[in-house]
């Protein structure tokens, strides 16, 4: 199993006392799975995403990623995990303004210490896989449309060949049609390239594009089911 979570608990200390964001969540996700984590706001899905994305560590419990326990690592060790194993796609894209699509997509490889020509070549491959047409590669990120920006962000998540792609409400800022194109891109990446994709969302409609849906509420996993009526965008063959 690529991801093994046992009894993940996260407690935040606030001024008033303690807030329990996650109460002993346990689940496994295998290589090549497309999983949606679904729940309303305040359910703890963002906290779970931060832990899965090695941005944060659980208060209790263990998290094995590719067989390595990463629940007790230091900040810089977590940075290394993120650099090598995780790709993020955010709701608000978080691209560098006034930088080209190509430079944005290549950014993670800079921190991996790759030479410039090599990382631009990899970024071109990733942009191709994310479906951004070649004539947009030289455009500055603030000259792109929302859908195009999210494709650049997906390319950036792909470029370091990660074990997991974590997408946090990736369609939240997009209209339905553009959102579907992005979801289709994820489905293609999952089916054709065998990428593990974890989609965090509060919308059932979006979650239904995944193979499996983990429902979370008040910090607890209340349901973990195989998605039987899976939506497929444009009737693409998966």
């Amino acid at each position: 199993m690529a991801i093994e979570c046992k009894n993940i608990t996260k407690v935040y200390k606030t001024g008033a006392g303690e807030t329990v964001a996650l109460k002993g969540a346990s689940f496994n996700i295998g290589d090549g799975e497309f999983v949606a984590i679904m729940g309303p706001s305040g359910s703890g899905k963002s906290t779970l995403m931060h832990i899965l994305g090695a941005l944060d560590t659980p208060s209790r419990g263990t998290y094995f990623l590719d067989g390595q326990d990463i629940s007790k690592l230091s900040d810089d060790e977590l940075a290394d995990i993120r650099k090598n194993k995780i790709g993020f796609v955010f709701q608000s894209y978080n691209l560098l303004p006034r930088a080209t699509a190509l430079r944005n997509a290549a950014l993670p490889l800079m921190y991996a210490g790759m030479a410039r020509e090599k990382r631009e070549k990899k970024a071109e491959e990733a942009l191709l896989a994310a479906g951004l047409s070649e004539d947009r590669w030289g455009h500055l990120s603030n000259q792109l449309s929302g859908g195009q920006m999210q494709r650049v962000a997906i390319a950036r998540a792909l470029v370091n060949n990660p074990s997991i792609i974590l997408a946090d409400e990736p369609t939240g800022n997009l209209d339905t049609k553009t959102g579907e194109i992005v979801l289709d891109t994820f489905q293609q990446l999952n089916s054709k390239h065998g990428r593990m994709i974890i989609l965090i969302t509060h919308e059932r409609y979006v979650a239904e594009h995944a193979q499996r849906i983990i429902h979370i509420r008040d910090g607890e996993i209340i349901d973990d089911e195989k998605n039987i009526k899976r939506r497929v965008v444009n009737n693409h063959q998966l």
Binding site: R82, N94, Y111, A112, N160
Partner: protein
């Protein structure tokens, strides 16, 4: 993250907002510029003072009369009016001190001088032929006083260029004309070349006459006001100075050197005194300018803190994709250093330009030294590091989750 990556990231960050970057570095530009300009003016003044002291003569030692300090009684008479040095002292120095290349006693006093109805008040200097050698006097026209003139008490005079201009008019050849000093007629036999004397001691406003003539017809005694001695070479200055002191103490029957009735001044001492004055001035000017550098540095820090806040989400993103603390802090530190470095470079250009304009239009000599340029670059880099450190540390310490959520 390689050095060239850091440089590229930094360069694009600095050039994104050119107006703001430009205004931020203005403080550094002005600070470095004024340090460069002030130091160059100070050093220019120093070298011009040194040059003018050097032009008095080379390897020069001057013996001047001083008052004798009686025990317990403070009698102070103005130096120069004391009459303790004689022609015989000068002759003794000439004969007994072998390391002295040439000796020129002189007697100098101001007189009203007239020629053809014009008159001027100038310094009349009775001296000997060796004076030209000891004090670097060049003769422009005619001849200088000869030993023959001394022996025969000739009433001849050599004019300084300024005195010639005052008495006869600029460019007029006065040789063969007569001038009257203190009711005694002198025949002009030569004109000295200009030494470019500056300020209060104009070395060009002078009349040279034979020492013997001056003693007999003007002063009426055998005393001299200064004995100038040229040492054979620069290394022997101290030795010669000591030998002259010993010789004169012996001749004047003074056992305690503290009670000497004369002073032996080394040219080097005069240069050092003048240098220490200009050094102090330079340090003073530079430290006033240095304060504006600190102000500029605070401006950089302010701008960097604003940048860190503005780019919180970018920092969060960079951390999310694998940037470590030191990657982030290196990037922001590099930004601060690049800003101050650009400021330093512009400041050096501005300072050099200011120094050039000052020397061009204000007539003050300036000298932009390599040391001050190297120092300016060093200081601006140091300011970047010092004032960039705190903002960079703040950026590096941001929590990626909170940074990504920042609105």
């Amino acid at each position: 993250m390689s050095v060239s990556d850091i440089f590229r990231e930094t360069f694009s960050a600095v050039t994104v907002n050119k107006a703001r970057s430009g205004l931020t570095i203005l403080g550094i530009v002005i600070g470095i510029g004024s340090v460069i300009a002030m130091v160059s003016i100070g050093q220019g003044a120093q070298s011009s003072i040194e040059e003018s002291i050097q032009s008095i003569g080379s390897n020069l030692i001057m013996v001047m009369p001083g008052f004798q300090r009686g025990v317990g009684v403070q009698v102070s008479s103005g130096r120069g009016s004391a009459q303790t040095l004689t022609q015989a002292d000068a002759d003794a120095i000439q004969q007994e001190i072998t390391l002295a290349k040439a000796t020129a006693p002189e007697i100098s006093r101001r007189y009203q001088v007239t020629a053809k109805g014009k008159n001027t008040n100038t310094s009349v200097l009775g001296t000997v032929a060796a004076y030209t050698e000891v004090r670097n006097v060049q003769i422009g026209a005619g001849v200088f006083i000869s030993d023959q003139n001394i022996r025969s008490l000739s009433k001849v005079a050599v004019l300084g260029p300024t005195t010639r201009d005052d008495l006869f008019g600029e460019g007029v050849d006065p040789i063969g004309q007569t001038i009257r000093i203190n009711k005694v007629d002198f025949k002009v036999i030569g004109v000295a070349e200009s030494k470019g004397g500056t300020g209060f001691s104009n070395q060009d406003d002078v009349i040279f006459i034979p020492l013997s003539t001056a003693q007999r017809f003007l002063a009426g005694d055998n005393y001299v006001t200064t004995i100038s001695v040229a040492a054979a070479n620069a290394n022997e200055m101290a030795t010669v100075q000591q030998q002259i002191t010993d010789l004169l103490l012996l001749r004047h029957n003074i056992a305690n050197p503290q009670l000497a009735d004369f002073q032996v001044l080394n040219q080097q001492d005069i240069v050092q005194t003048a240098s220490s004055v200009t050094d102090t001035m330079t340090i003073l000017l530079a430290s006033i300018a240095g304060i504006s550098l600190i102000v500029g540095g605070i401006g950089i820090m302010n701008m960097m803190l604003t940048t860190v806040t503005e780019r919180t989400r970018e920092i969060g993103l960079r951390k999310a994709i694998g940037a470590k603390k030191r990657d982030i802090s290196a990037q922001f530190l590099a930004e601060a250093v690049m800003l101050t470095f650009l400021g330093g470079f512009a400041g050096i250009v501005l300072g050099a330009l200011a120094a050039f304009l000052v020397s061009r239009f204000a007539g003050v000599a300036t000298k932009v030294s390599l040391l001050s340029i190297v120092l300016a670059f060093g200081v601006s880099a140091a300011i970047g590091i010092i004032f960039g450190f705190y903002p960079a540390r703040r950026a590096a310490g941001l929590n990626p989750i909170e940074a990504l959520r920042y609105e």
